[in-house]
Symmetry: C2
Subunit: 214 residues, 2 copies
DNA sequence: TAACATATCCCCACTTTTGGGGATAAGAAT
DNA sequence: ATTCTTATCCCCAAAAGTGGGGATATGTTA
């Protein structure tokens, strides 16, 4: 059975050349070709593609929004983005929205067929430079959480108490959970407030989660 | 000036064959070759590599921990991981720890030189299947935050109130901030509790942050 | 040994939050 | 025209949290 492919691109010439390119491959067929994404969900419901080629820049609704919609309604569809520039944020947004891979338009002739095959095989084709950007984004939250964890110097017990609080337990419940008295919980909380420079449970919870302390 | 490369791999044969492979390229030179990572930071301080090839599985300390240490002490070093298997979690951990790229040991002969070049050029070489796994990990938090934001159907006003609470304001302060009465704040909070299925400020704050509502 | 950190517990008075009602007005949806 | 949603406000009594004091015991460090 051949791979069913749908194309979304506002440039008719590009759609045609992609269609031509794909038609040279016996294992693939173009089942739809659309110049806008306004009805992308319905379009895909009709032509039932396995893989969607989506231009990142589309008139009306952006390709990124379209990805989000498509993935929501038809989560099994694999989406391959195409773009002219390697634009950090747009690429990242597209991937977050549910795109599985990436090709530059310059490379279409050389890499499109391979990219489609890789996508179908469970991979995510993307240029190394895009991969680096994705990785960079991924590493930011890790850096925050790992570097600041010990800045506050909470003791193990204080972390336990804080974790309980973050999980929604009241002082009483924390006391029961940790087999200590209500007053001991209070003592720990007081220390936590000092160390975190906060003055209420809500602030402590917010800081604990945002800074990755728990 | 040629690229300075250090190798960390517990298998001597592999180190030798990598050295041989690299020596065929005039733009690269192996400046260090080590069978363990116990002194990796000192080793790298001495031989000053631009790029480190690190086996993900090392005796004593794992390659992942080594990556973390190296990146902490020598953040400019680019690290290329090598592994036998495409192990989701380990790969992901290595990348979070600071690795910039990835090659399978099977592919060394074909891809190592290219991978090193790409790494140095600012890219992140990795197989499409690894890229997919990285993307998958990346999409998890996004999916939670983007898909559940509207699930709770908080009104704009309720979101404002919740945001204030998350920022550590008390009911009184929220009232002052939003120019409404204390009782109105309470009404909103009650509604928020219902919609979020929580019963305390701390739970609301935790849920709001974790689910990306604010 | 003395100073320090951790973990445990206690009291009082005060503030804040919570649960349970209820009410009004403006605007959107049926 | 009526229902629904949103946003606003009110009261009371109970529960929970906060601030500012203490105290004791067990270790570790200097």
């Amino acid at each position: 059975m051949s791979l069913r492919i749908a194309i979304f691109d506002d440039n008719k010439n590009i759609r045609q050349s992609i269609t031509l390119l794909i038609s040279t491959n016996p294992d693939m067929e173009v089942v739809g070709s659309f110049g806008n994404v306004l009805n992308c969900v319905n379009d895909c419901l009709k032509c039932e593609p396995d893989i969607v080629l989506m231009d990142i820049q589309m008139p009306g609704m952006s390709g990124i929004e379209a990805v989000q919609l498509l993935k929501q309604e038809l989560p099994t569809i694999q989406i391959l983005m195409q773009t002219v520039f390697e634009d950090d944020d747009r690429v990242f947004d597209a991937i977050c929205a549910g795109a599985s891979g990436y090709v530059l338009k310059d490379d279409l002739k050389n890499k499109l067929i391979d990219a489609i095959k890789e996508l179908h095989f469970g991979g995510s084709p993307m240029s190394p430079s895009i991969a680096r950007k994705v990785i960079n984004k991924l590493q930011i939250p890790e850096k925050i959480s790992k570097s600041t964890v010990n800045e506050y110097k909470l003791t193990p017990r204080e972390k336990e108490v804080l974790l309980c609080i973050v999980n929604g337990l009241s002082y009483k419940m924390v006391a029961a959970e940790l087999f200590i008295s209500y007053e001991t919980v209070r003592s720990h909380i007081k220390k936590i407030y000092e160390k975190l420079h906060v003055a209420s449970l809500t602030e402590a919870v917010a800081k604990a989660i945002k800074q990755g302390i728990v």
